[in-house]
């Protein structure tokens, strides 16, 4: 499947097969979750990041089914580059209506970056001015967990983490994803 047809598929799923909801509701709900975490964990932003990642991971495990059902993708991705394309043009498109740019491939094609010029989760957000948040908190870290969990369910073990974020004063919001290995063993079937 070519890149353009993936883009078209993403558009189609978004337009025709996705129930939609007010984006600001999601933005504010996510904001409430992060703010609550920061309170619960006493401003330990490193822990907050971990928690967001964990929550994202749990989501990813279930989200993949929704993705496969709606996108109706028959074929497995031939290689990791295809996977990246699908994540960006179909995955992010059908859930968040954005298509982050794929960039910075490593020479072995096992690592790439997603550049977000739009991030609905971070709309209206300004990190606390406490001298710590901007150097420690990855506000959208849940997304990393989602990718990790979703890919694990399709036999890929990856690491996903942010390397820059405009909320931290950087020029871009960039997530780095690297393939650790393909999972050879069969995953146990989900009970649901």
């Amino acid at each position: 499947m070519s890149s353009t047809s993936r883009a078209r598929l993403g558009e189609e799923v978004w337009k025709l097969r996705t129930d939609k909801i007010n984006a600001e509701l999601v933005t504010l709900t996510y904001g409430s979750v992060v703010a609550q975490l920061c309170k619960d964990l006493d401003g330990d932003y490193v822990e907050v990041n971990k928690q967001l990642d964990k929550m994202g991971y749990n989501i990813g495990l279930r989200l993949i089914e929704d993705f496969l059902a709606k996108s109706n993708m028959q074929q497995k991705c031939a290689n990791f580059r295809d996977t990246a394309d699908v994540i960006s043009k179909v995955g992010f498109k059908m859930f968040l209506n954005i298509t982050p740019t794929i960039a910075n491939w490593s020479s072995d094609n096992k690592q790439f970056s997603l550049l977000f010029d739009e991030n609905p989760l971070a709309d209206f957000v300004e990190l606390p001015d406490d001298g710590k948040a901007q150097s420690e908190l990855w506000y959208s870290n849940m997304l990393c967990g989602v990718i990790r969990g979703a890919l694990e369910m399709v036999q890929m073990s990856v690491d996903a983490h942010f390397v820059s974020d405009v909320l931290r004063g950087n020029d871009t919001t960039e997530m780095r994803i690297n393939l650790i290995r393909y999972i050879e063993d069969e995953m146990p079937q989900d009970d649901e």
Binding site: L28, G31, V34, A35, F124, V125, L127, D129
Partner: protein, 221 residues
């Protein structure tokens, strides 16, 4: 039964440009916190008594009044346009304040009395809250225009949907420019609130917010 409090006039202080005179009560200027406590405790309106220029001849040796606290302010004609702006939260707590106009550029005399002026403005703003409480149920408007008047000073108010009050203490009336100013402030306040890390009733300390407010003041006031 009316409360009677006798107040020896210890001290009179006049600013150099003779625009303001402050009578001290007891040993110091009554602090804003004191006014609030008094107000809360007795449930009475704190009031300010104004004495017109007739006080010049012979000043009363003491004042008997049936209000709890007296903080006497005389503002004479001739003070240039100046504004005191404060955002007040739902618990009558100030969230942000700023001064515009010629307050800061005043002559030496005024500068010396910054604290008193500020207390005065805070007092005027705060005591208008009672008026606002009455007026807000009589009108569906968010911009309440002038809600209180005190000698030559007016207090204008904008009430947000969440009961946050923007108060402007000013000495020249200009309804429309003030409304435009408040509209800009509301935009800035909403942006502050949309941030999940900002909670209602928190103080607003963002420098960018401060700059934008001052820019709005410069633009309209």
């Amino acid at each position: 039964m009316p409360l009677v409090k006798t107040l020896p006039l210890d001290d009179v202080i006049l600013t150099e440009d003779e625009s303001t005179a402050v009578y001290r009560y007891d040993s110091g200027v009554v602090s804003f916190a004191d006014l609030q406590i008094a107000r809360g405790e007795r449930g009475l309106k704190t009031g300010a008594v104004t004495i017109s220029s007739s006080f010049l001849s012979p000043s009363p040796s003491h004042l008997s009044l049936d209000i709890v606290v007296v903080f006497v302010i005389i503002i004479m004609a001739g003070s240039s346009t100046s504004y005191y702006f404060v955002i007040i939260g739902t618990k009558d707590n100030p969230l942000y304040e700023a001064e515009f106009g010629s307050f800061k550029q005043g002559g030496d005399g005024i500068a010396k009395f910054r604290e008193e002026q500020r207390h005065m403005n805070q007092f005027i703003a705060h005591s208008s809250l009672d008026c606002i409480e009455d007026q807000q149920w009589a009108s569906k408007e968010m911009y309440l225009k002038t809600v209180d008047k005190f000698n030559n000073t007016w207090v204008s108010c904008f009430l947000t949907g969440g009961n946050i009050k923007f108060l402007l203490v000013h000495d020249t009336r200009s309804d429309e420019p003030i409304r435009q100013f408040f509209t800009d402030v509301y935009d800035l306040y909403c942006k502050t609130l949309m941030n999940p890390f900002y909670e209602v009733n928190m103080a607003i300390r963002s420098q960018t917010f401060d700059q934008k407010i001052k820019a709005a003041a410069k633009k309209y006031l």
